[in-house]
Structures are given as C-alpha cells and as structure tokens.
Symmetry: C2
Subunit: 305 residues, 2 copies
C-alpha cells in the first residue's frame, strides 16, 4: 500500500473545486494529462474511487466529498507555511516564548500567569498554539508545553509532574431525567452519547469511552473539548469530561467512573538544554503556579463526588 503523495492531494483538491482535470490543470499550472495521472495515482494509493469520469468532467463521489475537508487542511497548512515564511523574511526577532496547551489549560493556568510574568520581564512576547495535539518541542515547534498523558522517555525533554486529571462520564441532570448515579454501564445502551473526534482527549479516555458507548447511539462527534462540554451542558447526551472542568457546572452530574479511576498525568514539558534565562525563569514560575492551581482544582472536584 503506497502512500499518497502530497502533490496528489493538492491536485485532488483542485479537481474537486474546478470539476475537471482540464480546469484544475490551468489553476495548478500543470498539463491536463499530469493532473489526470495524479488522480489515478491517488485513487490507486488509497484503494478508493474518488471521481466518476465523464465527458463533462470529473464528478466527485461521496468518498471524495468526505475527504475534501482533510485535503483542504493540507492546502491550508501549506499556505500557512508560506505565509509565516514571508513573515519571517521581513521581521525582526525579539524574545519570544511560544507556549502550547489545550484551551482549558490556557484559561485556568496559563492566562493568569502571563500578566504577572509580564511585570517582571516586560520585553517578552508570548505566542500561543492552543491545540489538543502534542507538538514536537525538540524540533522547536514550541518552547513550553502543558501535556496530558503518559510521560515520554526522550532525554532531550524535561518533564515536571503537575498533578493528575481524573475523568468521568457526565450528563445534564436537569435535561436528562431518571439518572441513577452511579449508573450501570449496561444502562447506556441506546442512550444518546457524544464522542470525540481525532485526537481530542487522552488516548486512554477515548478508549474507555468507545468501549462504554459500543451499544449507545452516537449523536454527535465533536472535534474540540469545549464542544463536548457545551453539548453535554445543553443536554445533548452523555460524554466523558475532566472532573475538574465539570465541577464548575452544577447542572452536570457524574454518572459513571472508570473502574479503577482514570487519572491522566499532567506535565509541564520543555527542552532540557539550550534555553535562554528568561525561559528558565518562566518555566520556574509556571511550575509553581500550575501545581497550586492543580491541587486546588482536583480538591474541589474531589469534594463534589
């Protein structure tokens, strides 16, 4: 199974948008036979039929329509690369700290830190990359990461343990009636549930949820944790949430806990060496602050159960 080439994917997208290999060729600055061959190669590589050939052009199949979103992401990522490259070409560099975390961590931990740190080191500019996916710190994608899950074993990275995040199954007790707590996993059969898409949430939680929801009715697949939270609060169905997050909303009730409790470790991660002093200072401050916040949050969440 050969892997699809990136060029094939941008060709795919162009054909998708123009409707014919001829028009796509003009857009891409290639010849029509080349584009046609690219599509052939992609279909062969994927083992899927993407277009119905006709003398009127290439008609996208439903498979192609489903893939077009991902293809567009590829194109966007390529444009983003270009864009920041030109941005670099005419920019002066200063002291920048690029920090990555989830949105939730930024709201609860990082955001209060920034203004305080700014007072001690006013010349530093922060950049955020708020995503659920782990970035490669060794490659310099970010300077500091707040990361959920198991500790990696890279020698180049230093991990500081900030605490553990426990997850459980929640629902809105006002909108969904007859909620026995704790409920039996079997009772979830046929119930409305919300699942994660892609890499939202730690792997262990996703696995737990998928097992739990095997007989349930998936109403919504959500690509951000905020989306899941919002849906559960509005009574869309059941979904796993971090206890510390759910504790902030009294209408949410803990229905079910993982057998032995799922406590996902939470880390502050940064490259072991080669760091500027201002970064070391920030790591120091962030570590102290974050552990304090984590203790408070987990204590609060624990007292509710």
């Amino acid at each position: 199974m050969p892997r699809p080439s990136p060029d094939d994917i941008v060709a795919f997208l162009a054909v998708m948008q123009t409707g014919s290999t001829r028009a796509a060729a003009d857009v891409l600055g290639l010849s029509q036979p080349t584009v046609s061959r690219r599509i052939d190669a992609l279909e062969h590589a994927l083992g899927l039929t993407l277009f119905e050939r006709s003398p009127r052009g290439f008609d996208p199949t439903s498979v192609a329509r489903k893939l077009s979103g991902e293809a567009a992401q590829v194109k966007r990522a390529l444009e983003m690369f270009d864009s920041t490259a030109t941005q670099i070409r005419k920019s002066v560099t200063s002291k920048v700290i690029r920090v990555t975390s989830t949105v939730e961590v930024f709201e609860r931990i990082l955001s209060p830190l920034l203004s305080r740190y700014g007072e001690t080191a006013p010349e530093v500019v922060f950049e955020t990359v708020l995503t659920n996916q782990p970035l490669d710190l060794v490659a310099g994608e970010a300077d500091i990461a707040f990361r959920h899950g198991n500790k990696g074993d890279e020698a180049e990275l230093t991990y500081h343990h900030l605490g553990d995040v426990s997850w459980a199954l929640y629902a809105n007790q006002n909108k969904l009636t007859d909620l026995p707590t704790p409920m039996d996993p079997g009772e979830l059969s046929g119930k409305e549930c919300v699942l994660f898409e892609h890499s939202v949430g730690p792997q262990i939680v996703r696995a737990w949820a998928e097992g739990l929801f095997a007989q349930s009715k998936i109403v919504l697949r959500c690509d951000t944790l905020q989306g899941v939270l919002s849906a559960v609060r509005n009574g869309v169905g059941f979904a796993p949430l971090p206890c510390s997050v759910a504790a902030g909303f009294p209408e949410l009730i803990k229905c079910l806990e993982p057998d032995n409790g799922v406590a996902v470790p939470f880390w502050l991660v940064y490259p072991t060496k080669g760091n500027q002093q201002y970064l070391v200072d920030f790591v120091d401050m962030a570590y102290k602050e974050a552990t304090a916040v984590m203790n408070a949050l987990e204590a609060e969440a624990g007292s509710q159960s």
Copy 2:
C-alpha cells in the same frame, strides 16, 4: 518567487527531526542526495537559510525552528488525510450532518439546537468542525456553516443573514487602573495589547486592531478567540472582542469603539441544491433559532454600552 513544493516541506521536517540528510533519507525512503537537493530547493524558494551545513550534519537555524511548527502542521494534515481515508475504506455511512462554526457560535447557538433537533430526527449524527477558518462548502467540507464577514457571491451557496456582530476594544477594569472610557486611540501607545494570530477573527477587525496597536506593546499573540478572551479577563492587556461575548463578563469594560462601528455580518450558509430533506429541516430550524439568539445577544450587549 517559486513556491515550495509539499515534498520539500516534509523533507525539511524529516531533516529537522533527524538532524542530518542521511538519517532523513532513511526515514523518508529516499536517497541522501535527493534530500539534500530538496532542502536546497526549499531554501532557494523561500529565500531563507534553513540549516548550517557541517560534517556533523544539518544544524537548524532559528528560522528553521520557527518554521518547524508550520511544517509539522503540514505533516499532520497529510496523516489526517490518510487516516480518514482508511477509516472510510471500512465504514458504513449513515445520515450525517457536518456543521462548522467557531467555538463561540457552537456554545451559544448550535449546541442548544442539537438536543432539540435530535428529538425530531433521532437517526441523524452530527459532526463538528470548530475552526475560525472558512471551509469550502461547495467542495463538501461541511454541510452547513455559520460564517462571519462579507457575503460571498457564489451562486452555489445560499446565505441567510442572521444579524450583525459588533466588536470593540476591551480591558479588565479591575486589573488595569486609570481606564478612561472612551479613551483616545493615542493613549494606547506603549500599553500592553493582545493580538490575533493567523485567521482568528474577521479580516476587518484584525486590520482595525493592527492599526490601533501600531505604537503599542504586543504582549501576546493568540491563535484562538477563547485565548484572547481569557487573557483579557486576566488583565494581560487590551484586545478587541465581540461585544456580545464581552457582555457576559462584568469585569470587562469597553474602552474604544471603531469609528463608524464595526458590525460584522453573520450568516448561515449552505449549498443551494442537492440537499437531503433532513438537512433542509435542520437548516430551517437553525435559522429560526439563530436569529432569535442573535437578537437577544446583541440587545443585551447594546444595553450595556
């Protein structure tokens, strides 16, 4: 200025992670000279020096480190494409509505809708793509979009006007003292400010903010609106926010409004034809609900100024 080829970028990332063209070649399944040539091509295309060549390997420059994040996004997008392709290869299809909006819109408008719609059409599964970037509905990246900004003129898309979103400059009045309201734009000189990164927020708002902050001190560049909100609430500095969002937080005070007021139109968008009945039903319901919510939100925000 020739554009960098996608293959060059994945080669760049591999060299970045392995530290040499030789090792990268093994990872990529290519030969060492090829990888070396790819890097040359990329550097030439970008007009930037990415590596210091030495007999110990390729040493990334600071420019390369800044670009590695974007390069990784490209690789992730490619993997995502692969992943959903294999997922499609062994999946059954059902009635799916893929909806895209910002996180804020999902929380306020969409999320309450889902549970209600689920009662009338229980067989439908929803999927969310919660992003700030506009997806291509014609290409099928999503079925329905909530979109901020100017109406497009594509014949294939139907736009329903849901209302207008007004933006203004906000700050935390408890943490930042001496806030004259309304303040003079000149008073922003040297003050701490928060900017958007990439395509967060409508273009017109970004342009307004960048002009306003020309003399200010940029403390933070944020890649999500939630991040900006969270930072402003914690007193990091000034930033533009939608009035309807800021109205929910009493500690935020409106410091400055755009000259003639920036009211960004807000649309419900969907492909004009070829839609299933269950989608038409949902669009209908969503339109009614959304206009009602929008009216309420803007009225509330307006009464506060």
